[in-house]
Amino acid sequence: MSTLPPGSVHGPVDTTATGMSPALEIDDIQSGALHERPSPYVGTYLLLKVHEPADGRELIRRLIPLLQPGRELTEPGLGAWLTVAFTYEGLKVLGVPQDSLDSFAPEFQQGMAARAAEIGDVGANSPEHWEKPLGTSDVHIALAALSPDAAHLDAVVDRARRAQEQMPGVEVVWRQDCYQLPTGRTSFGFKDGIGQPTVEGAGTPPTNRGELPIKAGEFILGYPDETGGMAPVPTPDVLGRNGTYIVFRKLHTRVAAYRQYLHDKARTREEEALLGAKMVGRWQSGAPLALAPDEDDPALGADPARNNDFGYATDLRGFTCPAGSHARRANPRDSLDHENSVDVRLHRMIRRGTSYGPPLPDGVLEDDGEDRGIIFVFAGAHLKRQFEFVKTQWLNDGIFIGAPDEKDPLVGATDGSSPFTIPQHPIRRRLPDVPPFVVTRGGEYCFAPGLRALRWLADLTT
């Protein structure tokens, strides 16, 4: 006598057998949520403050034609993706009724700055040190434009800017440009963006044979999710449906400190590369330790058909890939399935990270004072059980791997006293006092509505 509907069976689910999910309304969903960013890419993030609600709504109306719903950005002619999202304060200023505002996820209503203590943004990462106006009530609308090349990006950003300039009641309060480094890697030197979940019905083929596509309702509001139910859809339905929550974080990377730490702990360049790979879970090329245990394999790293096609079930003790490594923490894959404590499929994240700032030249171990880092972007239906769960339980804590003193060695909220354990024969290696290599410069919880919802917002009259 089961108390749960059949769709709520977890673990690898035969989605063809339970394939009752309604088709995704691709043409109503903003493209940034469902499709990979281009590579290479250039991008611009703009944050806007709405002084005059009518101007804000008119701006939305003019931005709608610039959006490319749901479509893959494969043809150069398509130009650039523009994504529009709103903070809670933004929706409020634009005139969304209070009962509707109250229907959004509590974490969204509170905003990222209010969640700082919970998610580990303390000390040097706390909102009082954030770049203004991040984390303040002045951030209302977030625009993200991503393109394969600067010309197309400029064209879209110019159109967005022109739309904004004609609206004196809307002010650009923050801008961040980003671009893929010439290496195609992050400032730490690693290829990133690998290991995205495959969204059922979105048309993207799976890259990890061990993980069946995740129900679309885990990422897009208004569809069945992995629990067999549905994430709460903000009301009215026209506003909530086809929307997704967005987490946006500017993370400064302390690249010199990272290199210096590895340099101090390793005797050779090879050992340095190995320690770096053990901390990240992948080699710099993106080749996963699980498939390339001993040395980097650039061909593997570059191959999207192979670089995500692995699990950890045969390496539970972490001799190949440490349980505490960054990639394994952020997505433990099948390593926790036997424990019956957690369902990894309930904690998957779509990530759309980009890099900002100049690279630290090769070999430099001293900080050059430049601001560089990552714009971390999450898309999902649950701020709490996806982003905040991964951040608090898997990245900022080590209880789940039986190492309460350890944190993610790359991005964990640390005061610099946490160790990092590398299982190896004959005896494990424990790196002491891993310093913080990432500093939160600020961020926002946003909501990216569907296109019908944007029209609804533009038509508000309050």
Binding site: M1, L4, E339, P404
Partner: protein, 178 residues
Amino acid sequence: MGSDTSSRPGIRVGPTSEFSLFFHVKPGHGEALHQALRDLQAAPGYRPGDYEMPIASIHEARFVPFDDDTRLLFATSFDGPWDAYMEDFASKPLRLFDAIFQHVVGYEGLPTLESVKDFILSAQQSAGGYARNYGGTVKEIRKAAKVNEAFQQVLDDPDAAEALEHPALRPLLDVAAD
């Protein structure tokens, strides 16, 4: 039953938090409940001496029928803040106790995981007092037991005393005498 969120996730000692659920037993289901508990006790992982419960993040589990079998207590110690794992708990682990919860009020016919979650939370009461005699997660304790077992094997070797004289083994020598 209180579901006051301010009392969550209850008292925490080190990495471990207390977690107790108080249910109402369906009228007339007392004997069936006892049978289900006997069945659980006879299942792998729950038999005396098994020490391998299917849920890896709890230190122990007890089901206590009380008030003439009209009530049922489930009490455990959970590694981590259990409230963060509510959705997880409501799906997989709860299912492992399906045969027991069938005999409590409010369990059947829950349409969504959200309603299962509400069912659990409505039964949860935070402890007024909670203390532990050892620190560490289940994983750490299991590892510590394994390491101790290995160490005892070392001590059984006639050459152990000489081997432990090495300066690097001094901390082990310090605990080898008893």
